[in-house]
Symmetry: C2
Subunit: 167 residues, 2 copies
């Protein structure tokens, strides 16, 4: 397989995966592009490589900055801004986990805690409801704790411990 072909395919595939990580397609593609690029790219470079408009490029670059998975850098003697991605996959995964925890897990935990205080009038529905909420809450809290460990962990420590489980 030739390089340009492989590059194309990886960017495509990463676009899909990124999507399921909570990014959108273009965001993930820009990220893939920056990740495999040995040097930082400008907005214009990105527009060209992915054939997207200026506005689209700008918006998604900003979103990536917002997620904290790419960074802005300036090159001496140049006006343009360049961007580079975090290349350490582990750091990337941690960052994504952190954002998703904030955006997804925290809100549901809040609701579960609220809803946990529901008045149990005598009905069977209400009783079942309480039971399910309690379990969900327990599960969500465990997951939250685990995520936190993941986010704070050192790569090698984490995998070493985890790999022990996997045998």
């Amino acid at each position: 397989m030739k390089y340009t072909e492989a590059k194309e395919e990886l960017i495509q595939a990463w676009g899909n995966l990124g999507y399921s990580w909570g990014l959108n397609k273009t965001m993930a593609q820009i990220h893939a592009l920056l990740m495999i690029s040995p040097k930082p790219l400008s907005t214009e470079d990105i527009m060209d490589e992915l054939s997207i408009s200026r506005g689209n490029a700008n918006m998604n670059i900003r979103a990536l900055l917002d997620w904290g998975i790419i960074s802005r850098i300036s090159i001496a003697g140049e006006r343009k801004e360049y961007f580079k991605s975090e290349k350490d996959i582990w750091a990337l995964a941690r960052q994504v986990a952190k954002e998703r925890r904030k955006r997804e897990l925290e809100p549901i935990l809040k609701v579960l805690r609220e809803v946990n205080d529901v008045q149990a009038d005598g009905t069977e529905e209400a009783k079942e409801f309480k039971k399910v909420v309690k379990e969900l809450k327990n599960f969500a809290e465990k997951s939250d704790g685990l995520l936190e460990t993941f986010i704070k962990a050192e790569e090698s420590w984490f995998w070493n411990n985890l790999l022990k489980l996997m045998k």
Copy 2:
């Protein structure tokens, strides 16, 4: 907080969470509804409770069956089909993990393996590319292994081991 209000809020919140687990909003809401219901519900019940159309209900029920997280049951002496959800959150999480692994992780692994054989012509781009792909592949394979362990694990065993890590 009153029961009906709490129920409403939980279904809403679960809808959002489900969405980020790869289900769609209605799918997740139907699931939430079945999860808190002490007895199985018919398509009609679901339509009423969530105020959705027959077609929509039918499609999403089928998708949930497809994911293997709800099941069809019949009640003696009744024509209608009823549905109930798996109530064990752990089992649910495993099922979701299994489906997502198939739908998301496997495709990217395939691409990474393919793309790993790229011809390294001398360019710096190609060199960087190979390096990144190698790391991604390594990460994805580790994640795959971990997911597999999760999918096959017993609840208590898994959490007990994991909780040790979390301290």
